[in-house]
Symmetry: C4
Subunit: 280 residues, 4 copies
């Protein structure tokens, strides 16, 4: 979610609210963020525990109560977020806006339609709040470097994964021919699923080859998967190595003539304008 720019025409209380809810520079703003994070984590734990049948029977009332407390808080948060910015649609139709709305609605539907008629589909919507955990990532500084390294090697990794998928389609089809439905490879999509499970070295074992030829092909896939995992690793590793050495080797001493900032530490003259550099 992009932080909507502070609108100068907002009334004073709206501005204050905006600073608290969307900002992190004031004490109250930080407090709001911390309370929100705690509640997000709590609401996710609540959803998890509710899914455990034995807990749900035992602590049904407590869960019901906690659910309402969280629902009300998130409803208030949703309303405050809307009224504190000038262009509410920007928030409403953002990823988090939709998640916030959809994961809050079910409790109200269940309340008005009646608990006994609670539809599974409506209930499932509540699980959307698990996506709110992504809000936590905003608060972690270091993650930017990782994301940028991943972004830089995104093209190469995509191609690699695409190649993996093609290998899996071909070997999956081959295994369907070799093993056939009588050995568990009931159809081609399932065989491709098996090839993915095998190439990625997960190996559930729910399906596995039974004929000698099938096992030979499987050995082949596994060894390829084992050798080929080196490729994405090499890509990201090289990317990170480059980033690190860049950060390390290029010491930012600025050319007094042209302002060029990136010089190799061994340079005596600016490579941009040819002026002599005074190393610090």
């Amino acid at each position: 979610m992009e932080k909507p720019s502070l609108d100068k025409n907002l009334t004073t209380w709206k501005r204050k609210l905006y600073i608290i809810i969307y900002g992190t520079s004031t004490k109250l703003g930080r407090l709001f963020d911390i309370v929100l994070l705690v509640l997000i984590v709590l609401s996710i734990i609540l959803v998890m525990l509710e899914s455990v049948a034995s807990y749900n029977i035992k602590y049904h009332d407590q869960f019901y109560f906690a659910e309402w407390v969280i629902t009300i808080f998130f409803s208030i948060e949703y309303i405050l977020r809307i009224i504190s910015i000038n262009k509410p649609t920007k928030y409403i139709f953002s990823f988090y806006g939709i998640v916030d709305l959809l994961s809050t609605i079910p409790s109200y539907i269940i309340f008005f339609v009646g608990g006994s008629n609670m539809f599974l589909a409506v209930r499932a919507l509540r699980l959307l709040r698990v996506f709110r955990i992504l809000k936590v990532t905003r608060y972690i500084g270091e993650s930017q470097k990782l994301i940028s390294a991943l972004k830089n090697s995104r093209a190469k990794i995509s191609i690699f994964l695409f190649a993996v998928v093609i290998i899996c389609i071909i070997t999956g089809t081959l295994m369907y021919l070799v093993e056939g439905p009588e050995n568990g490879f009931t159809n081609i999509p399932l065989s491709i699923y098996w090839a993915i499970v095998t190439l990625t070295t997960v190996g559930f074992g729910d399906i596995h080859p039974l004929t000698p030829l099938g096992r030979f092909i499987a050995s082949f896939i596994m060894i390829i998967g084992y050798g080929v995992i080196a490729v994405p690793t090499g890509i990201v590793g090289a990317e990170m190595s480059k980033d690190m050495s860049k950060a390390d080797e290029i010491k930012p001493f600025i050319c007094p003539n042209c302002g060029e900032k990136e010089h190799k530490p061994s340079s005596e003259f600016c490579h941009n304008c040819g002026k002599k550099l005074n190393e610090n």
Copy 2:
């Protein structure tokens, strides 16, 4: 498939056809490629869905119709490819030429011999069309770098995988001795298959050691496999690191004044003597 060189002696319509089918520079040529790609993907999806028994019963007629549409298109494509080049044998006996032919024939055989007498072996030929997906790779530029990095480290990776196979043969034989047929290690090839499943960290679990000594040896193999995966990764990673730093950081243009050879590609002045560089 190598792109056959454009023959000057072709008649005009043949040349036009050639440019459309084998080329990618004209609008029609690109359209032809896109339509072909879509049909390849569709034909593969069709083959996959047909292999699902429940779908095949339900949508038999639709599948039959789609099959014929695709067969006719690929037949026309095959004929056009042959008549538009001067040396058709070059295409016919290329990998894609054989795949294109073999995967198109079955539909005709089934039609003339009769649907009820459809042999499995003939039907299986149709699955060859899955190899056509490799044509897609032609259109991805970035993949060249990956392939070149893999090619450069091919020798080392082959040796590594060869070493893996030798370790698996030895440990597989050992496990056959230790565990024996009564614990599922019924023969040496199967034990070697198990060793490959284990060393590559796939671990299906269809066969697993049951004696303490067998488990001890298995632990040994697993830890080796876990530690040794570093080797191909290191190879490819080092190879890529080298490629990247070569491509990115140093273009070899020599300073005409001091002879310094390593300059950043963006440098306009030599960082060693301050002389203006004439980039080539």
Copy 3:
């Protein structure tokens, strides 16, 4: 455990004892360490063997005897450690102090309360001695480099693992919705456990998707897990590469003539101006 500083006010025999127990510079000190290490390893093997039911019945008396020998030795060691330093609380409340105490007590409790009433919880305490194996790590020099490399990339790896956990929470919840209790995904925590098992490419196979959609999502997770393992590898690899090249190739001694700073440690003359270098 930090090595408590040698206190000058200790009586002579206390000082001698201190040097033997906490030091490694004297012959007796090294002997003490070796005997201790052997006994730690033996006590761990003993605990392991005792847990095997068939061995425990067969060799019950020998185990009982060995248990007491080890208990008495560790008790003496514990007492000596306390009386040989001035501030015993520093040792007593250190990690190893607590482990040493808790893992020695059970034998006495069992002896005084009676063997037949031996509580499982008390017995379990004895297993704490397995943590004593960590003392062994103190004696391995090379491990420092590894630990420092890990420490340097700790922040990045933590974020990476945090991201992995978030992905697992989201996909686990998704799989609970898609597969549901009837396919083994009985509740959300279990589904998250499955997602972790799958993403980390372990793949036990106790739970696995059975619906086509579930298998599709699973394929997605597996391919992500397979591609994403590159990230921590890249981080540590880059970190180590940096450490190695730093340590190996460039010792910073500056040429007194031209100021060139990067010389190979074996160089005797500056490679930039040819002046003799005075290595420090």
Copy 4:
């Protein structure tokens, strides 16, 4: 096996034999090696096929015949190897000498004692010939680099694997406590085996946690294993990167004054004697 040095006092035919058997520079020497390699591979395939019960019944006579052909050839090879060198004990007590002898004996024992009384232990000796496959590695040049890279990082990898074993001992003991014999974790060694299976991401699934706490600890181990695999990869990768950049960057132009061979490409003066370098 070290190549025994050519002894000048050998009679002429012994020298010729020596050159053929131990050398690879003559035509006959290479032919001998190729025949030997083929026979080693054939003998291993034979042992594998014999272990498959159905093949053994069907082709018993053929296997028996092939076995004798191979046994006789390897016997002759063994005798020739002994008589062609001056110090036969050097070969006899080398690794391959023992393997060659032990794997040839069983056939004779079975022949003289009688086929029906064939002891399993004697038969098992024949499987030793699988180690002969290691002879193949001698012929691969590239493998030296890999082995040297592994050797250089041997110390670090050993410590890493030692750390893995310690983690497995601790978590295995923990899981024994948490899950206990009733959930398949029947004793501590088995639990440690499970921890190894899990940490190395193999995951057979023969044993897996069933309690929530056990699953939580398992998740922890898996995520550690997934994150920690980066360490050996980083070690080997960094080692290889170093090797490669060494090979690449240090261009062998020899100092005309002192003969020092390794100079950085940017050096203008020899770092060993201070003489001006004439770059080629």
